[in-house]
Symmetry: C2
Subunit: 136 residues, 2 copies
DNA sequence: ATTATAATAGTAATAGTTCCTATTACTGAT
DNA sequence: ATCAGTAATAGGAACTATTACTATTATAAT
């Protein structure tokens, strides 16, 4: 009756990869990392398991940041800022006090399920590069 | 020297389609609409012109709401709520007072370029349907 | 150990979008 | 009016991220 979920080596390694890569990897990046440990792992296995792990709440997805989905082992509520030049994604701490009175009452009759805030900007590395290029 | 942009029939019709369709159409929906008036228009022409129009600031894109990009003729600053069941997107009015103190100061050294807030929920039509199904 | 089936590798298929190329149609100058 | 230069076009190929399919394998419960 119960959901008989097997604890496969692949799934363990995939979850560990997301945790160790840290900075919001894509499926492809997870795949590369996993293959350095389990070279026979397929990309579909990576996608399937990222999905399973997300279902289980062991990780979350960061969508709407470029066209690839990114994965996040950090399960605390937080939002993200993405570099428009290199695509890097960083966490932004956001406190309840920042969000007072939000979202607004009138949601056109919608029942609210989730709020996602995505910032876009230029990361320190990229703005550093731009400075250098100017002086050349 | 200046950007000699032609005002083609296709581009006019595409912009009008976005305006008349109103509720944040996808490229495909614009395409269907445009073809009812200019049947020989190609999908690439629609994509290209939606891009051009966005560049010109005549419309904006709503990304991160499902996997398709949606287009918006409403040029005022506002955010969106998407129905997780049917994908419908509606405007949410958001006032400066709702956003006081946001975003936070500390952005990990990023230079902020834009803020996008996306809500997800269940639209009135879909929640209505769910009620009906329950009573059957 | 046997069994039942969840999970896998490998590959095909899909969706949304972008790129490419030959052709068309404005625009502006002769 | 003719012509040259070049945006813009149609049509289709290519691309990218993701999902679906299928035969095989590995795991957990008995
Ligand atoms: Mn994060
Ligand atoms: Mn809108
Ligand atoms: Zn960057
Ligand atoms: Zn709905």
């Amino acid at each position: 009756m119960s959901e008989v979920r097997r604890n496969t080596r692949q799934r363990q390694v995939i979850l560990r990869a997301v945790r160790e890569l840290g900075c919001h990897p894509t499926a492809e990046q997870v795949y590369d990392r996993v293959r350095s440990e389990l070279p026979r792992t397929s990309l579909s296995t990576v996608y399937r398991n990222l999905g399973v792990l997300a279902d289980q709440g062991l990780l979350s997805t960061v969508a709407g940041a470029g066209k690839e989905v990114h994965y996040d082992h950090n399960r605390e509520e937080h939002c993200h800022i993405r570099c428009s030049l290199c695509g890097r994604i960083c966490d932004v701490d956001i406190f309840p006090s920042d969000m007072e009175g939000f979202p607004p009452e009138d949601l056109s009759g919608f029942i609210l399920q989730e709020v996602s805030i995505n910032l876009v900007g230029i990361c320190p590395a990229c703005s550093g590069k731009m400075e250098k290029e100017k002086t050349v």
